[in-house]
Amino acid sequence: MAKRIDVSGLTAYYGTHKAIEDISMTVEPRSVTAFIGPSGCGKSTFLRTLNRMHEVTPGGRVEGKVLLDDEDLYGTGVDPVSVRREVGMVFQRPNPFPTMSIFDNVAAGLRLNGNYKKSELNDIVEKSLKGANLWNEVKDRLNKPGSGLSGGQQQRLCIARAIAVEPKVLLMDEPCSALDPISTLAIEDLIGELKERFTIVIVTHNMQQAARVSDRTAFFNLAAVGQPGRLIEIDDTERIFSNPSVQATEDYISGRFG
């Protein structure tokens, strides 16, 4: 199910401002890749280019290639709507649809994509909520609004919503930054389980988190404020945190800047 991502020569703009420049990397299927780096270095922007969400921002524009198992996301004739069905996303702040029940939130993506029988929907919703480790907490109140849940539960609801449509890749943009430590731990455990089925890319500000959950880590940096962000290096997480090959990475990880 999971797919490989191959990025080559990717540059993204906001209007005339160049946000990230010339990024190339490969993300293996069924692995967790963490993006770390100081604020404003473009790691979230880069993440959003991987499911064509960057162009939703006014003035957003992308050059370069992103191959999903050899198919270019930015090729001619590619429908961004189809791309986003293949590459799911979880956002920084939990964003369940406020007017929908828990059940409807999880079923929202499925209902867009086709006609499901009630029993099929029930099965998929249950499976997705179980997959997001939320089923036991909400199974008695599936018809209550999703906004009544705690922040951590809401974020797991959003993960359930994203995995219900069986994407090939799951992007997570600082999914724990709005959560307390216990909820964070629950999400981190979940990421470990989800990588059996999905290719996962996660942006995080928290280096311990990157070290805990990821197999590979990419470090982004920018030369100066106003300059575009660049990929400094990407390597096995263990290596990045013990013996990085670039001095800047070591400085950042050891807390000397950023």
Partner: protein
């Protein structure tokens, strides 16, 4: 919003020196403070007095008129205030006011919502700014100008439409047309729709613009098309705002005077067809009958104005209640 509550009691962490604090808390001990507080509080009280006076005086004059009314004020189908004793009732006016406003709402609300969506989610960015600005300005065009335009430009253009409606929908009775000048309830409804369109559009646009980016992105990331984003995130979020915008528009349509007075050929009866001229509204009736009215006639018109006042209060109250509910609701989700 919170500024109101915290204005004159600074939070403990940033307290001014103790002597100042004491003075501030006791409010108006200095002469200057006392005068200023008195003036501003007096203005607030003046507003309340005006509102009370409106209710009291209208009710008083209305009661004078109704006590002389030989007919039934609610059900009589005539307005003969010069008879001795006078005989008048508001049934025709209530009917005409409701019908014309309902037509206006049915025509204006969907179009206004569509334009608001157009401006926030569909139009090219370069276009939406200036267009929104122009619509803002159009909301400020005086109603008498809409009336003049309606009477001299819109009415002649409606002959074709009325003929067509009569030909294909005449069998319903509602859309039959005997060929009189197209100055009917439908004309009034169309003109009112055009007039309230900018107001409803502006308020709806504000609401749609406030839809949090993250709700829209949630739908986009699931692979929703633009219309599906609108249906899943924008419309549910904006629904109560659109309802209250519509109520504000309805309030204006109910009380509109001059535009109705210029395009309608009023008669004091109820037409079963929307296309045949005739009927009347509260506000139009006051404007048209006022010139020849005697003292009793004026009191009778004031009585009908009181009814209009109460109706618009109810409609506006409902709109405010919806807005207030919406605030609580969105606060709970923040």
């Amino acid at each position: 919003m919170d500024t109101t509550k915290t204005t004159d009691a600074p939070p403990p962490t940033s307290q001014p020196p103790a002597n100042v604090q004491k003075r501030v808390n006791r409010g108006a001990t200095r002469p200057g403070d006392r005068v200023f507080l008195g003036l501003s509080r007096g203005s607030g009280i003046l507003l309340l007095v005006i509102m009370a006076a409106i209710a009291v005086f209208l009710t008083y004059r209305a009661s004078l008129a109704i006590s002389k009314d030989h007919g039934n004020f609610l059900t009589t189908f005539e307005w003969n205030t010069n008879l001795v004793p006078p005989s008048f009732g508001i049934a025709v006016l209530a009917f005409g006011t409701v019908v014309s406003s309902v037509i206006a709402m049915v025509l204006a609300v969907p179009v206004a919502v569509a334009i608001a969506l157009f401006l926030t989610h569909y139009a090219p960015r370069r276009m939406s700014g200036p267009v929104a600005y122009v619509i803002d300005l159009l909301a400020a065009v005086p109603s008498i100008v809409y009336g003049l335009w309606g009477a001299l430009i819109l009415v002649p253009h409606l002959n074709g439409l009325f003929g067509w409606l009569d030909e294909y929908l005449g069998w319903t009775g509602i859309f039959s047309w005997q060929g009189g000048a197209p100055r009917s309830m439908l004309t009034v409804g169309i003109l009112l729709a055009i007039m309230i369109l900018p107001i409803i559009t502006n308020v709806s646009r504000e609401v749609f613009r406030q839809v949090p980016q993250m709700h829209e992105e949630a739908a986009l990331a699931l692979g929703a098309t633009r219309w599906e984003v609108v249906r899943m995130s924008v419309l549910p979020f904006g629904r109560s705002g659109v309802i209250s915008a519509s109520m504000l528009g309805l309030g204006r349509a109910l009380g509109e005077t001059m535009a109705v007075a210029t395009v309608l050929s009023p008669t004091f009866d109820i037409q079963t067809s929307l296309l045949d001229p005739g009927g009347g509204t509260f506000a139009q009736n006051i404007a048209s009958k006022f010139g020849e009215a005697t003292q009793d006639g004026r009191d009778a018109l004031i009585a009908s104005g009181l009814v209009l006042f109460v109706i618009t209060l109810l409609v506006n109250g409902a709109a405010r209640a919806i807005i207030a509910r919406r605030k609580e609701y969105s606060g709970a989700n923040a």
